[in-house]
């Protein structure tokens, strides 16, 4: 099970990112644990400067905008 955190202050892009990841994980039959990280200190603690950012199992895999479907699919490959 992958531990996924979406970093962002809760704007529309962050919500889109969460929905997209959940949808693609579901399609791939992947079990995920999804967390939203909205605390600014925590976000910056990951070194992310532009949101939405995505952290999988403690590692930053994406920052700055809604990730593409292809990119998300690669995380579950």
């Amino acid at each position: 099970m992958k531990d996924i955190k979406v970093l962002g202050s809760g704007c529309a892009n962050c919500k889109t990112t969460i929905a997209l990841i959940e949808q693609i994980a579901h399609e791939k039959g992947e079990e995920i644990k999804m967390d939203k990280v909205q605390d600014m200190r925590a976000i910056i603690g990951y070194g992310v400067m532009s949101t939405p950012g995505v952290v999988i199992d403690g590692k930053v895999v994406h920052a700055g905008g809604v990730p593409s479907r292809d990119k998300i699919a690669q995380w579950f490959a």
């Binding site: 962002g8 809760g10 600014m40 603690g45 070194g47 400067m49 532009s50 700055g64």
Partner: protein
């Protein structure tokens, strides 16, 4: 001797993109060159002529709508590609260690091309500070990013030509540079929220920068079009419709008395009115065009537009998470002063 002919190369995504662009670009230019014909043709279908107020208003609408949407799509696509070269991490690396002055100019320029949505303003702000970018230079970036945006520039170019667009760009950069210099000079580092000060003194965390190929850049450009044009087109159409109404029905010189250049107080009033408002450039500019056609002064209207975009209340609320009230007040005061000057300069020059 019998070399097997290699099979016809598969159309790779890159070739598909290039062929597609080679086809679409001439169509774009052809359409942009025939806007008047289009508006004339549509108007003749309605049986009206430009002599009537309704006919004139409709002609304005049928001319401006395709024009603005064509310009927006083209320029937003190109900007989307340009932005793939300027990830925030790259911007931070470019600004780190730059001196006051040069750094402020560079920061203002990078503000135009670095992509980020307004909800990222705080992490970006702190990311820059933690890499050792001075406060004043960080502010130059933060001011130019929303103020000199591609949608505003595109619309100004489309409606008033390159001189006005250029002047807007130049004045926007100047406000960002000078405001940043002043804020830097005031040494307000201790007016950052305490937790920000702690992080700003710490080490910058580094995130691996992604390497993109051209297919990804084109896709990013297209994504940018879908995101921005997809979001603003209703505002554009409503704005143009309102503009068309003003254009057709409001008498000539009606605006001159309240928004004309003789009314010196109109510039500060425009700035004050702009701060609590939150609209985007796309909806405002078509109205601006029509108001100016009726005698409103360009500087007054642009000052209003700049203060709507650069000094919006929601942006201040976001920044409040990282800045103490005095620093926010200083920031608002200095930028407002800058915009005020821009308004007067425009009114003098044009």
């Amino acid at each position: 001797m019998n070399t097997t002919a290699s099979p016809a190369p598969q159309a790779t995504p890159l070739i598909r993109w290039l062929v597609g662009l080679a086809l679409v670009a001439p169509i774009w230019f052809w359409a942009y060159g025939h806007l008047t014909d289009f508006a004339d043709a549509v108007l003749s279908l309605t049986g009206l002529t430009r002599q009537s107020a309704l006919g004139e208003a409709l002609h304005f609408f049928f001319f401006d709508t395709p024009k603005v949407l064509l310009l927006l799509t083209g320029i937003v696509f190109v900007m989307g590609i340009v932005q793939t070269f300027f990830a925030p991490e790259r911007t931070r690396a470019l600004l780190a260690g730059k001196r006051t002055g040069v750094g402020n100019v560079l920061a203002a320029l990078l503000g135009i091309v670095t992509p980020f949505c307004s909800c990222s303003a705080v992490p970006l702000f702190i990311g820059l500070l933690s890499a050792g970018v001075p406060l004043g230079i960080t502010f130059s970036f933060l001011i130019s990013a929303p103020m000199v945006n591609e949608v505003a520039l595109t619309l100004l170019f489309g409606m008033f030509g390159w001189k006005v667009a250029g002047l807007y760009l130049g004045m926007g950069l100047l406000v960002a540079i000078v405001s940043g210099l002043v804020i830097g000079r005031l040494h307000m580092e201790n007016h950052l929220e305490d937790w920000v000060q702690v992080i700003a003194r710490g080490e910058a965390v580094h995130v691996q920068e992604e390497r993109l190929n051209w297919v990804q850049r084109f896709e990013a450009g297209w994504g940018h079009v879908r995101e921005i044009v997809g979001k603003v087109w209703p505002y554009v159409i409503v704005g143009i419709a309102l503009g068309a109404g003003i254009h057709g029905y409001v008498p000539e010189d009606f605006m001159a008395s309240i928004m004309g250049r003789e009314a010196w107080w109109s510039v500060p009033v425009a700035v004050l009115l702009g701060v609590p408002m939150y609209t985007n450039a796309a909806g405002v500019i078509p109205i601006v065009e029509a108001l100016i056609g009726k005698g409103a002064a360009l500087g007054t209207v642009l000052a209003f537009m700049m203060s709507v975009i650069a000094l919006s209340a929601p942006e201040m609320i976001i920044l409040r998470k990282a800045l103490k009230p005095r620093l926010i007040a200083t920031f608002v005061g200095i930028v407002a002063l800058g915009i005020l000057l821009v308004g007067y300069v425009f009114n003098l020059v044009l």
